[in-house]
Amino acid sequence: MNAKQPSPAIKLVYVVGLLFGIGIIWWQATQLQREKASLQWPVVTGKILASELVYVPGRSSHYRADITYNYLVNGTRNTSHQISLWSSDLSSYGGITRAFVANHTNGSPVNVYYDPEHPEAAVLIPGADEKMDWLLMGMGGFCALTSIGGLIARLRKEPRLRALLSDPAAETRTIAMHKADIIRGSNALGVSILLGGFTFVLSAAYSAIPYFSGPSNLPGAMVPAPGQWLAGVVGAIVAFFIVRYGIRQAHRAECPLCGNFTNKAAFKTGRCEGCGTRIIFDGVPVPAAPPTDTPRPEVIRGFQKDRFIDVAGFMAFPILFACLCNAAETRTGPGLAVLMTILFSVMGGVFYFCPQTMDDKTPATAGMAKAGEPEEKTQPHWLDFGIILTPPVILLSYLLYLVWFNQALDTRSLVAIVIGFPLGLVAITYICKYRFIRDEKAKAPKPPAYVPLTLIALWLGGTLITVLFLACLAFKLMGHK
């Protein structure tokens, strides 16, 4: 008999995090090295042919420098528009962009740094945006270190977990816990993660602004306020202590044997998800659930051709998609596509080696027509689905029309959406309710889970959109732009 093994999925998640972190560090380190190499490039005097500050309207409106210059190398006259390796047109660099255009007027001479191996490649500002590169490398390092910490903790925990799972008395072993402790522990953890995360993001956003504004040695660069980085550090420390408090509170919800965090789901199963130990809550045992015939799948060992084709095909599309999106945004370079490829490949590995447990609701013969079952029974569900999606599709069509013409919503449209969209939602809810009741009376099969879930998601999304548009309308009516 094989000894039970702890799930490898958690370890794989940490490995994915580690690879992601290492990938970011590698990408930024390569970029930094490439950009810094331009400091060693030879210099010639060129001439500015055109220099203009261009306003780019849109959702992230900004200024960019439209510069054209030429220079002579080995008797060949080259023309270029590239300003630096970290930003070809200084898009979104505010003060630096304005100062650069002001200092480089039409016809003025300029120092041009060209690549000796490819003289057609040149820049006006050599070097790297080191602050940005180091910030991203720091984020990658944080991700990698957190993953290493998690992996070590998991590896240290595994022998104990393995012993508990393989124990012959595992089925009959019991522990006592209090429901109040679990509720309090899980609530404290949830609230502290939310609060801590919010504090961290807020302080990080405030203190990181100078990091996104280009090299500080350039004219027009943003000078960080004296307490700006201090605010970031204080915010991070406060966030750390908030989360630490939540984790300490959550200890009371841990399984005393394996240390697994027990949540409210255990009230129904009456077992610890980590080691399978039976839990008696407040002295009252949970009635044992009927045994299921669904076998827990093993980790896939060896090569299975069909499964490999499924996973390879399944992950190839997102990889291709990421590469195409990366091609659309030239400012990020190819690094993002490489990172996403690595991440998706690792996830593909997880999907290949760790098959999912079949959901109780998933029929083993899904898709097979049952004898004597009329096919028309599935049609009303698609009709329900179509009815539910009508209001978002109408709204979407109008918004996409505006997006195509780069237009913003005016006050009249906002009023129409704020009133019309919720009314549409109410109408389709009543129609669906009527149809569900009618189907129930006719003893028709229940709709698949995604039909009511889509309705719930639409309500949640609709509320968010309505609140958002309502806030916009309020701002517009108050005279803000």
Binding site: P355, M358, L402
Partner: protein
């Protein structure tokens, strides 16, 4: 012994892919990059077609999940991606 209830499963991954495909559609539409828009949306559709074809050979199951689950959840997620990105686009345009 992986358990589907506490980890990223293929249908959940496909949902996020659909959300991204929806948001990317609006982004590319805004930038008038029609060819890239067509290519990315074709890739998303092809991924669903691939799931459909492979599931047909395996009694309607694709990577341990019912193929209908992929389609049923992906379409709303795609629309949600479109809708949220379009809202952001028209508010901040």
């Amino acid at each position: 012994m992986a358990n589907s209830r506490n980890q990223l499963s293929p249908p959940v991954f496909q949902c996020f892919f659909s959300l991204g495909a929806g948001a990317a559609a609006v982004w590319l539409l805004y930038r008038h990059q029609v060819w890239l828009l067509a290519a990315t949306q074709a890739i998303w559709l092809l991924s669903l077609a691939f799931i459909h074809v492979r599931a047909k050979k395996n009694r309607g199951l694709f990577l341990e999940a019912d193929a209908a689950t992929y389609f049923g959840f992906c379409l709303p997620f795609y629309l949600m991606g479109l809708l949220l990105a379009a809202c952001a686009g028209t508010i901040f345009a």
